[in-house]
C-alpha cells in the first residue's frame, strides 16, 4: 500500500503559529515577559507587604538565605525598612510602563523621521539630519533637569522626557536602512508601475526595515528602563516613594560594598526583563521573515 501524502493545512497563520512554538528563544522570552506582566497586574494580590510601609527599626535586613534573614522579609528590607520583595513586585509596573511607553513614543517619532529622510532624501533628509544632530548634542541630563525644575517630577514626565529624547537611534538606523532599500529593484519597480508613495512605503519599505526596527526597539525598551535608573540616581527620575527597579538599583548603590543584594536583586529582575524582551524581539523577527533563519 502506498502512503498517501499528508496534506497539512497551508494557511499562513498556522504556519506562523507552528514556527513560534518551535522557536525556543521566543518561547522563553515570551514566557518571562508574560510572567512579568502578570506580576505587575496581580501585584496587590501577591505582594506580602505594603511597599510603602516604613519600619525604621528593621532597616537593611538581609534576605532569607543569609544567616540573619527571616521569612518575614524574603528579600530583606531596604534603607527605610520597606519590604524588598513587595517593592520588587510593584516596581515591575513602573519599569514596564516606562520601558514600553518610552520606546513606543520614541519609536514612532524616530521611525517616521528616519524613513522619511531615507526615502525622500534631499531637503527632507537635511531637515531630519539637522534634527538628529540637534537632539544628539543636547545633553539628556540638562533637558531632564530643566523639565523637572519647571514641571516637577512624575511618572508621566519621565516617560515623556525619555520618549522625546530616545528617538535618535531609531531615526539613524531607519534612515540608513531605508537609504539602502530605496535603490533596490523592487522599490524602483513599484515606482515604475505607478504605486503611490504611501503604498510603497507601507508595502515595500517598511517590511524590509522592520527587522532593524525590532532590534532597535528591543534595545530601546531596555535603554529606557536603565536610563530611568540613571535619572533616579541623579534625582530626576520617578519620585520616591514610588518603587521602580531603576530607583531600587540606584538607592542600593550606597551600600553596594556591604550589602550587595540591594542592587543584585533588582538588577537580576532588570536583566531577566531585558533578556526576555531581546529574545522576544529576535523571535518575532525570525518567525515573520523565514528567509532570515538558518
Amino acid at each position: 500500500m502506498t502512503n498517501s501524502p499528508q496534506i497539512t493545512s497551508t494557511s499562513p497563520i498556522s504556519g506562523v503559529k507552528s514556527r513560534v512554538l518551535r522557536h525556543k528563544g521566543m518561547m522563553i522570552g515570551s514566557t518571562i515577559v508574560v510572567l512579568v506582566v502578570l506580576i505587575a497586574i496581580l501585584a496587590p494580590l501577591i505582594a506580602p507587604h505594603d511597599p510603602y510601609h516604613q519600619d525604621l527599626l528593621n532597616r537593611l535586613k538581609p534576605p532569607v538565605w543569609d544567616s540573619r534573614g527571616t521569612w518575614e522579609h524574603i528579600f530583606g528590607t531596604d534603607h527605610l525598612g520597606r519590604d524588598y520583595l513587595s517593592r520588587l513586585i510593584y516596581g515591575s509596573r513602573i519599569s514596564l510602563l516606562i520601558g514600553i511607553g518610552a520606546a513606543l513614543i520614541s519609536g514612532i517619532i524616530g521611525t517616521f523621521l528616519g524613513v522619511m529622510a531615507g526615502y525622500f532624501g534631499g531637503r527632507v533628509d537635511m531637515v531630519v539630519t539637522f534634527l538628529i544632530t540637534v537632539r544628539l548634542s543636547m545633553p539628556v541630563v540638562l533637558v531632564a533637569l530643566a523639565v523637572v525644575a519647571i514641571v516637577g517630577g512624575s511618572l508621566q514626565v519621565v516617560i515623556g522626557v525619555l520618549g522625546l529624547l530616545l528617538w535618535d537611534r531609531f531615526a539613524v538606523v531607519m534612515r540608513s536602512s531605508t537609504l539602502q532599500i530605496r535603490s533596490m529593484d523592487y522599490v524602483t519597480a513599484a515606482r515604475a508601475v505607478g504605486c503611490s508613495t504611501t503604498r510603497i512605503l507601507m508595502t515595500e519599505v517598511m517590511p524590509n526595515v522592520v527587522n532593524n526596527l525590532i532590534v532597535i526597539a528591543t534595545l530601546e525598551i531596555a535603554h529606557a528602563i536603565i536610563l530611568e535608573a540613571a535619572l533616579s540616581f541623579l534625582g530626576l527620575g520617578v519620585q520616591p516613594p514610588l518603587p521602580s527597579w531603576g530607583l531600587m538599583v540606584s538607592e542600593g548603590k550606597d551600600m553596594m560594598l556591604f550589602e550587595p543584594w540591594l542592587i543584585t536583586i533588582p538588577g537580576v529582575a532588570l536583566f531577566a526583563l531585558v533578556l526576555s524582551v531581546n529574545l522576544l524581539g529576535d523571535g518575532m523577527r525570525d518567525v515573520t521573515a523565514p528567509e532570515n533563519r538558518n
Binding site: T133, V134, S137, L142, L145, V172, A230, V249, L257
Partner: protein, 305 residues
C-alpha cells in the same frame, strides 16, 4: 561635491545655533544666573549688584545675542564657578574625554563586530548564545554597577589596577571597558542582523556558487553591506559616550568634560555649559559627516546629497 560641502556646513552652523539657543533658554528658565554667580552665601544686595553689573536683568534675547557675538570671536566667557576662561577649562578637560571615548569605541567595535559576524555565521550555536548573553549584560547592567564591580575585583582584591585618577594608561583600562561595553550590544546586534540578512541574499549565494572562498565572500561582500547601518550607529554611540561618560568619569575620578558638564549644570554655571554644548555639537556634526562619507564609500548606491 562643493555644493554638498556647502550644504553640510550650513547645516553645521544651524545645528550649533539651535542647540545653543535651546540650552541657553533651558538654563535661563531653570536658574537665576545672578545667584549662581554670586555664590551660596551672598546677600541680597550682593546679588542685585551682580545682576546689574553683568546685565542679567536684560531680556533673554539680548543676553543670548551678547553671548553669541563673543562666542563667534572665540571668547566663551568666564565660568561662574571657577572664574577662569571657559575655553581654558574645556581645553584642559576635553582631551581626557576624547581619549576615553576613542578607546571605548575601538574596544566596542573590536568586541562587537567579530561577535556579531560569528553569531550570524553560526546562528543558535554556543557563540550565538554567548554573544546574546553578553549583549543583554551590556544593556541591563547599569554602568556604575559594572564599574564598581570591576574596581572591587581588579583594584581592591587583586591590586592589578589603580582605582581612580588619570595619571597612567593603566588608569584608563577599566573606564574604557565600562564605557565601551555599553555601546557594544547595539553594534553587535545590528551587525548580526545585517549579516544574517545579507548572507541569505541571492548575490551572496551566487558568489558562493561562483566558487569564491568563504572569507572573501564574508568580508568583501557580506560585511560591507551589513555594516552600513552599523557605521551610522557607531557614530551615534561615540556621541553617546561623550554624554554617557559622566558616570564613568565620576566613578573613576577622571575629571573630563563629561564630569565638568554635569557639575556645571547642577551649579548653574551657564557659560561653561554653553561652551561645552557648543563643543559637543560641533563634534557630532563632524562625526555624522564622517559616518555618511564612510557609508557612501562602502556602498556607492547610497548617493550622498
Amino acid at each position: 561635491m562643493i555644493s554638498y560641502a556647502l550644504k553640510r556646513s550650513i547645516l553645521a552652523i544651524l545645528v550649533a545655533l539651535t542647540v545653543s539657543m535651546i540650552s541657553f533658554s533651558l538654563l535661563y528658565i531653570s536658574s537665576d544666573p545672578a545667584i549662581a554667580m554670586a555664590g551660596e552665601t551672598a546677600s541680597d544686595a550682593d546679588i542685585e549688584a551682580i545682576r546689574e553689573l553683568y546685565g542679567f536683568d536684560r531680556p533673554i534675547v539680548v543676553q543670548y545675542w551678547e553671548w553669541l557675538k563673543k562666542a563667534a570671536s572665540g571668547d566663551l566667557g568666564k565660568s561662574y564657578y571657577f572664574r577662569t576662561d571657559v575655553s581654558h577649562l574645556i581645553a584642559e578637560r576635553l582631551p581626557t574625554t576624547m581619549t576615553l571615548g576613542l578607546c571605548a569605541i575601538i574596544f566596542a567595535i573590536g568586541l562587537a563586530v567579530p561577535l556579531g559576524v560569528a553569531s550570524a555565521i553560526r546562528p543558535n550555536s554556543i557563540i550565538d548564545r554567548v554573544s546574546l548573553f553578553l549583549s543583554v549584560m551590556g544593556q541591563a547592567l547599569p554602568s556604575f554597577w559594572f564599574a564598581l564591580i570591576l574596581i572591587v575585583l581588579f583594584s581592591v582584591n587583586l591590586r592589578w589596577l589603580p582605582v581612580s585618577g588619570s595619571d597612567t594608561w593603566q588608569h584608563f583600562i577599566m573606564p574604557t571597558i565600562v564605557l565601551g561595553y555599553y555601546a557594544a550590544p547595539a553594534i553587535m546586534r545590528l551587525t548580526r542582523t545585517g549579516m544574517l540578512e545579507v548572507l541569505s541574499t541571492d548575490y551572496i549565494r551566487t558568489a558562493r556558487a561562483k566558487g569564491l572562498r568563504p572569507p572573501v565572500v564574508l568580508f568583501k561582500h557580506a560585511l560591507r553591506n551589513a555594516i552600513i547601518p552599523v557605521v551610522s550607529l557607531a557614530a551615534v554611540q561615540f556621541g553617546f559616550m561623550l554624554g554617557g561618560s559622566i558616570v564613568v568619569e565620576t566613578i573613576f575620578a577622571l575629571h573630563g568634560a563629561g564630569f565638568l558638564a554635569w557639575e556645571s549644570i547642577t551649579r548653574n554655571d551657564l557659560p561653561t555649559v554653553q561652551g561645552l554644548i557648543l563643543a559637543f555639537s560641533l563634534f557630532y556634526i563632524i562625526l555624522t559627516l564622517i559616518a555618511d562619507l564612510i557609508n557612501a564609500w562602502l556602498d556607492p548606491r547610497i548617493r550622498i546629497g
